[in-house]
């Protein structure tokens, strides 16, 4: 709606304007660099009073996402504010890619790996990015 954000693309579906196809580019200097991550974003009836529903469609190795691509992010849950917008939500997700938070995990095994062996975890994340997101 405003100026496009570099590395983020959100296009509404023609037959359902509440449904967006989103692509977020992996932030540079993160294990996701070079990847293009597809997400779906849906604006429920409550929006903007309730948060949009967002989920990764591309497989991603990240402690705050789960196998189904669901995302653990405070503003998508209880910290949602109607003053936030799709733009801010997607920026937050991009920021989450730059700074994974293994202390508040959605995938326990990934988070565990991230905490005990960060190097290996980052390697796996890179591999997954190369395998699924390019």
């Amino acid at each position: 709606m405003n100026d496009p954000v570099p590395g983020i693309q959100a296009i509404p579906h023609e037959d359902n304007l509440r449904y967006f196809s989103v692509v977020i580019d992996g932030p540079s200097q993160s294990p996701y660099e070079g990847g293009h991550f597809k997400l779906e974003l849906y604006l429920p009836e409550e929006y903007p009073m309730g948060p949009p529903k967002v989920r990764f469609l591309t497989k991603i190795y990240h402690p705050n996402t789960d196998k189904l691509g669901r995302i653990c992010l405070d503003i998508l849950k209880d910290r949602w504010s109607p003053a936030l917008q799709i733009r801010t939500v997607l920026l937050s997700i991009q920021a989450l890619l730059s700074a994974p938070n293994p202390d508040d995990p959605l995938s326990n095994d990934v988070a565990e790996n991230w905490k005990t062996n960060e190097k290996e975890a980052i390697e796996t994340a890179k591999e997954w990015t190369a395998k699924y997101a390019v």
Partner: protein, 515 residues
């Protein structure tokens, strides 16, 4: 108001209203609904603590009272005080402590601005666009708290109703991301233009208030919106008493655990017992329907095929599956036609054999102990269910007797009274078996069991008498008998209950479990 003098709030805050004593002037302005059902004796004729039945209106009034008094103490307006109280789970002492300790922190935590600028009004702002749904123009009104985050009235009201309908807590904040400021009730009233939504909000507050209070609880009755207030209730004493209350809708329940009357069992015993029944009764059912005990060593045996000639794997005793007699007594094998005379197989030497199998017997004993109590518990429960049937049969009986014999209807009511007393006493008996299951054997438990069996015998006698045939010839003597026995039974019941409850508070009983 005089309660300021009581405002020496000690650090203990077990009672919600330590400094708001339930004084007499409070009783005076009770609405009628609060006063009904305020009897100090219950159906079992046992002294019970006073309680009040409160309607939603009464609760709102009570909450407002609390807000009012606290507001006076804090020297704040009611609106702000309500937010503070909500934030401290409606515990005025806790709020006072924190507030005296650190006023700024207490206000901040509750989302109350320190320097309240007057912003409680809707205003038009030229050239301003609402950041949520981008409304602008001359007919758009904006509102902001003292954080100065401005949003249009439409967005504000949608924000508030979404929060109310999703029941996300009692607290409704400024819509701005990470803004901690909270909306007061008057502001919510101003911004919501829908009365039904506002009522929902008030209900959330009341719900919160009731749930936070130790001395208030909702009536669990179907479609009942009353709350019960039991001023004398506290969590400590509830460990050795059962506080029965009765709502104006007729629902009678335990104030602490909300179950139906389970005296003489304490809430904790009830919990453990029901849990045990859930865990064990299936095993028990299977065992009792699929196994028989070896007549000598009591080892449970499952017959999953083969003939009736059983050799116990445990003690090698050979017996017949059908009659449980010694196999040697069966002359023509494979057909059992020996009449079982009970205890005939208890030969002394066979009992000797059984002593060898201590471990098996021990676990079996535990099960038997449980079964003993469970069967009696279950039996009373079933009898209570049958009592409904008995009641309608009795009513029919009353009808016929009064029609055929010219007795007035009122003269026959003793039958119905007897049935009601029976039901009440059976309930006592039922739960008493849960208690005796956990009770350790000593002199006190002997008294308990004596009381239990006295009541049990009397109940069965009365039951028999009630179901006996009543003819014009014997009606006078039967009536006298039933009246006497009913009085006796309800007396036994009262004594049993009050003695047991007294036993708890005097710590007379020892239990096999930690209470």
């Amino acid at each position: 108001m005089e309660e300021e003098s009581d405002y020496s709030y000690q650090s203990s805050f077990e009672e919600e209203d330590l400094f708001f004593e339930y004084n007499h002037d409070y009783q005076e302005d009770l609405s009628p609904s609060q006063l009904e059902d305020n009897s100090s004796k219950d159906k079992n004729n046992i002294e019970i603590a006073k309680f009040n039945v409160l309607s939603i209106q009464d609760l709102i009034k009570k909450k407002d009272d609390l807000v009012n008094r606290t507001a006076q103490l804090l020297d704040l307006d009611n609106d702000t005080t309500q937010l503070l109280l909500e934030n401290y789970r409606w515990k005025p002492q806790k709020l006072l402590e924190k507030y005296m300790e650190n006023q700024e922190e207490a206000l901040f935590q509750a989302g109350i601005p320190q320097d309240p600028k007057c912003s409680d009004c809707l205003q038009t702002i030229p050239d301003f666009t609402c950041p949520i749904m981008f409304e602008s123009g001359e007919d758009v009104k904006f509102f902001s708290l003292s954080c100065n985050h401005k949003f249009c009235s439409l967005c504000y009201s949608m924000h508030i109703s979404t929060k109310i309908n999703n029941r996300i807590g009692y607290r409704i904040n400024c819509p701005e991301y990470k803004c901690n400021l909270s909306l007061k009730e008057s502001q919510i009233k101003l911004l919501l233009n829908d009365d039904s939504e506002l009522n929902k909000y008030i209900m959330i507050i009341i719900q919160n208030y009731v749930e936070a209070s130790d001395t208030l609880t909702w009536c669990p009755g179907v479609d009942c919106d009353k709350a019960i207030e039991l001023p004398s209730f506290n969590k400590v004493t509830s460990r050795y008493t059962v506080s029965m209350v009765t709502c104006s809708c007729g629902t009678s329940f335990c104030f602490n655990c909300k179950n139906q009357d389970h005296r003489p069992a304490l809430c904790q015993l009830l919990d453990m017992w029901l849990q045990k029944c859930r865990d064990d009764s299936e095993t028990l059912n299977w065992l009792s329907s699929n196994t028989k005990d070896c007549p000598t060593c009591k080892y449970p045996i499952e017959k999953n095929g083969g003939c009736n000639h059983i050799t116990c794997r445990n003690c090698a005793y050979q017996f017949c599956w059908v009659c449980l007699q010694d196999w040697n007594k069966h002359r023509d094998n494979y057909s059992c036609n020996i009449f079982v005379e009970s205890a005939s197989y208890e030969d002394e030497e066979l009992i000797e054999v059984s002593k060898k199998n201590d471990i098996a017997i021990d676990s079996r004993k535990k099960l038997e102990r449980y079964m003993f109590h469970y069967i009696r518990f279950d039996n009373q429960e079933k009898s209570i269910k049958l009592a409904q049937d008995l009641l309608s049969r009795t009513e029919k009986k009353i009808d016929t007797i009064s029609k055929n014999n010219g007795f007035s209807w009122i003269e026959i009511q003793f039958l119905k009274d007897a049935v009601l007393t029976l039901t009440l006493c059976r309930n006592t008996l039922k739960w008493s078996f849960a208690v005796s299951y956990y009770m350790e054997k000593n002199n006190m438990s002997a008294i308990f069991e004596d009381n239990q069996s006295d009541l049990s015998c009397a109940v069965e006698d009365l039951n028999e008498l009630v179901e006996s045939k009543i003819t014009p010839e014997n009606i006078d003597s039967t009536r006298r008998k039933i009246l006497d026995l009913t009085a006796y039974v309800s007396d036994r019941n009262r004594i049993f209950l009050s003695d047991t409850m007294g036993g708890y508070s005097e710590d007379r009983y020892k239990f096999m479990v930690q209470l």
